[in-house]
């Protein structure tokens, strides 16, 4: 018998394997849904308005509205007017987290967005294309009493995109504009316990800085971080998955090297898929608990990118290798047309990510979207990547269509074939359909869960239990693709019935020469075309 384990497995055994995988799949969902909290938390912070009483505006001084050395605080800007405090003397102070809590490395990252509350005034409206410029400094400390250590300082400009939903009349003064949130800061590590953000909005009329930005009432930040509980569950999952995928990978490669022929392209691609999966799985994030590695977010992106690129390439190559036409492939280069878009798309996204998260390693307040050029550049990268993806899917769909066309062609002529040939084709068809089925199932699951998690509010109350849908989505989908790769390596490994079991071949009444020939034709190693070879075989018979 030729081919992979899946072809030689009895239906019963296949069902058992499927059942076991399903159990693990359910466990993966439950771990996220029942044990883990929601993946991220958003905490909103209202900036306290401090007054910089020193006239020379020292940049090194930190303003915190409470604690042992609180700043002089004002309640609203009417008070500032009456006390003749200038705009340049006002410091917005935000302490993260809220009092009596502390940050933890388990939070993995901190992402902050900024809301500006701007009231409408007849004589102080927001100009068209208004830009807000802020001087922002970020400091940290690890206990409540020590001095603040500076971490980053930047002068940043953001576009104000505000709409006023009422008629602009005197009646509607003091109503608020409806402004878009502004991206503020992104840090890939939470190594310290307390963070302090000081924001100033300096006014410089001659340079036109912060002119025409309306009547600002409040500044609010929303801080997003990963939940510690989710991180722990996630790490645990990675730690468990790494050895299992690694083991099956080693087993798979041993199987391949045990064969007398060199590994074919499809086998190599499956192995590469296993490697990229392991690369994602390896829980290097454990180090982020002890070290201040800001590049972890970027690294995670890169790892995911590699895996996606590998998965997409695998699908194309798998289809190509099951085409059952007379073309000779088995070389990576013969897929350049299909794999090309993946490479270009992945490269675009990589460049984009380097421009965004890469630069954020240096300046956490940077965002590529804040400038016109940056936005266009970013959009260009994303659009090119999008086009590549579309192109890829067109190719893929076309190939799948071709395969099915060939299958139906072959199926009609199956009864007329010799037993060996029929078994060979039936094996091919079964292998293809099986993978098609589970791939579609996995993709559908991913899409469905993605939509569900986007539409619903994130958790279901079910009796006494709360099911965290978003966490279940992440752990479930992550577990699912791991199981997919696992199943792939297990089921598509060369069957050991291939070699050394002459009696089974004898039982089937096929000469070993033909057996060898068929094994190789699956993967098109040999020069002559399949039809030619098979015709020769039949002629010999």
């Amino acid at each position: 018998m030729a081919g992979a384990i899946i072809e030689n497995m009895s239906t019963k055994k296949l069902c058992i394997v499927g059942g076991i995988l399903l159990v693990f799949q359910v466990i993966a969902f439950l771990v996220g849904g029942l044990i883990a909290p929601s993946p991220t938390t958003a905490v909103s912070y209202l900036a306290n308005k401090c007054v910089d009483v020193e006239k020379n505006h020292q940049k090194t001084k930190w303003y915190l509205s409470w604690g042992s050395n609180p700043c002089e605080k004002i309640r609203d800007f009417d008070e500032a007017v009456s006390r003749q405090i200038e705009a340049n003397d006002i410091v917005f102070s935000i302490h993260a987290p809220h009092p009596h809590n502390e940050m933890s490395p388990w939070f993995q990252f901190m992402l902050y967005v900024l809301h500006v509350d701007i009231a409408f005034k007849m004589d102080n409206q927001i100009k068209n294309n208004a830009e807000i410029t802020f001087n922002v400094s970020l400091g940290y400390r690890d206990d409540m009493v020590s001095e603040w250590q500076p971490m980053a300082y930047a002068e940043e400009t953001r576009k104000l995109k505000c709409a006023f939903n009422y008629p602009k009349t005197k009646e509607n003064e003091d109503s608020f504009y409806d402004c878009d949130v502004l991206s503020f800061m992104e840090i890939g590590t939470v190594a310290h316990k307390f963070y302090l953000v000081n924001i100033r909005l300096p006014v410089h009329e001659k340079k036109g800085i912060n002119v025409g930005i309306g009547d600002i009432r409040d500044i609010r930040l929303v801080g997003i971080h990963q939940n510690g509980g989710f991180t722990k569950v996630w790490f645990a999952m990675k730690t468990v998955l790494t050895p299992s995928i690694f083991t099956i990978m080693v087993w798979y490669w041993r199987r391949i090297t045990m064969m007398t022929r060199p590994p074919v392209l499809l086998e190599k691609v499956i192995f590469a898929l296993g490697i990229s999966m392991t690369f994602i799985n390896i829980p290097v994030e454990w180090f982020s608990i002890g070290f201040e590695w800001t590049w972890m977010l970027l690294f995670g992106d890169i790892r995911q990118g590699i895996f996606y690129a590998m998965l997409l390439s695998f699908w194309i190559i798998f289809c190509g290798e099951h085409m059952m036409d007379q073309n000779e492939r088995n070389r990576f280069s013969s897929y350049w047309k299909q794999v090309g878009p993946i490479a270009v798309g992945a490269f675009c996204l990589f460049v984009f990510d380097m421009c965004e998260r890469g630069v954020q390693l240096k300046n956490p307040f940077y965002s590529i979207w804040t400038t016109d050029v940056g936005t266009e550049l970013a959009m260009a990268f994303i659009i090119v990547a999008g086009i590549c993806l579309c192109l890829y899917f067109l190719f893929l769909c076309f190939m799948v269509f071709q395969v099915f066309r060939n299958i139906s062609g072959k199926q009609s002529s199956l009864p007329a074939m010799s037993k060996a040939r029929r078994l060979h084709y039936e094996g091919l068809i079964f292998r293809f359909k099986f993978l098609m089925l589970i791939t579609l199932a996995c993709a559908a699951m991913t899409v469905i869960f993605f939509i569900v998690s986007q539409v619903t509010e994130g958790h279901w109350k079910w009796g006494g239990y709360t099911v965290e849908l978003n966490s279940a989505f992440f752990t479930g989908i992550y577990g699912m693709w791991n199981l997919y790769v696992f199943a792939l390596m297990f089921l598509y490994a060369p069957s050991h019935k291939n070699y050394g079991e002459d009696q089974s071949i004898g039982d089937l009444g096929i000469s070993s020469g033909e057996e060898l020939q068929l094994t190789t034709t699956i993967t098109h190693v040999d020069g002559p075309t399949e039809v030619y070879k098979l015709a020769r075989k039949e002629a010999q018979e």
Binding site: W66, P99, V211
Partner: protein, 411 residues
Amino acid sequence: MHEGSQAEMQAASWGQTCGAGASECPILGVCWVPKAIEDKDFYRTVLSGVNTFQSPLNSMDLDWVYNCLGLHHQKKVAAGLTGKEALIPFPLLGPATNPAQGRAHLKQCSLLRLSRKQKRLCRREPGLAETLQDAVHLGIVECQYQFRNERWNCSLEGRTDLLKRGFKEAAFLYAVSSAALTHSLARACSAGRMERCTCDDSPDLENRKAWQWGVCGDNLKFSIRFLKNFLGQKKVGKDLQAKVDMHNTNMGIKAVKNGLKTTCKCHGVSGSCAVRTCWKQLSPFHETGKLLKLRYDQAVKVFSTSNEAVGHSELAGPPPPGRLSKGPSAPRPTDLVYMEDSPPFCLPSKYSAGTTGRPCSREVNCDSLCCGRGHNTQTRLVTFACHCQVQWCCYVECQQCIQEEVVYSCK
């Protein structure tokens, strides 16, 4: 309330705004609420606090409010301690690491007229006193803004009497006050002024663990729970008035809750929406005020029905129109309810000062506002600021323009 004597003295000159027998400052001392319904004391105090403001707010009013809130008293004390707080109208409050501040909020709490439970909460929560003051201010300003063109202009005169009755106006006051409280509490939480905001009611270690694990709730949920606890809503009086008041209070809380806006941020691989975090934010209080005013205009009149089988009475509104129904229906939780038709508020009464002398605009509301008495027309030159150079904060440079303006006011 042994500390009350101080407030009493300060309030003495303002006694006239309170009803007979009022002995305390009406902003947070309660002029009229009988001791028996103490659970609702604070809540009524806020309302009667709203009562004492004049419109437009002038510095004297503010001064008076601060006085009533015990802040001037506070200033004197604080000045002796650090000398710093005297500079600012509101003392700095925050997590009480500073011993002076720690005492400051206790002092403030003791000056507020609160029930025993409320006082305990106030002492436990250093930012609460300040937040309550915020809420009072917010409620007053919004109420007066929404009613600037009505016969009853949310003035402070006669409000204590008004609140004893079941008018629509009282319903609005209850709703706007509880909405302001909810709003202020949630804001105080996000400003870090309150200590136990999201992971509350648990011992310190558990609290920290909950935060680290990531199961803390959001600010608004906390503030609503806290507020309900604070107002002691579990023990509701049996009379209809108490029920109506509570319904309107809850309606105010709901108005804030329904006004929440959800905003989301995508932050997956390369900023894709594979990972998305959403949060709710309070809408500006103006919008809540607008909604409440709308509900005021559509308020539902209720009466009491007794359910003999169960043995308690329930609120009942008019049967829904256009549909055959068996009887009165319970008012929806989003409706404002009232029991009595309001007086016209045209002439001075114990509920309002009447509309005489109120400015009006001829095309819009002079006829209704002046109750058919007609209006005076006055032409005068006004100087006003124009061609202003404004910065985002605190600086305005204007030219002076002069314009002839016609002013109408009710006879």
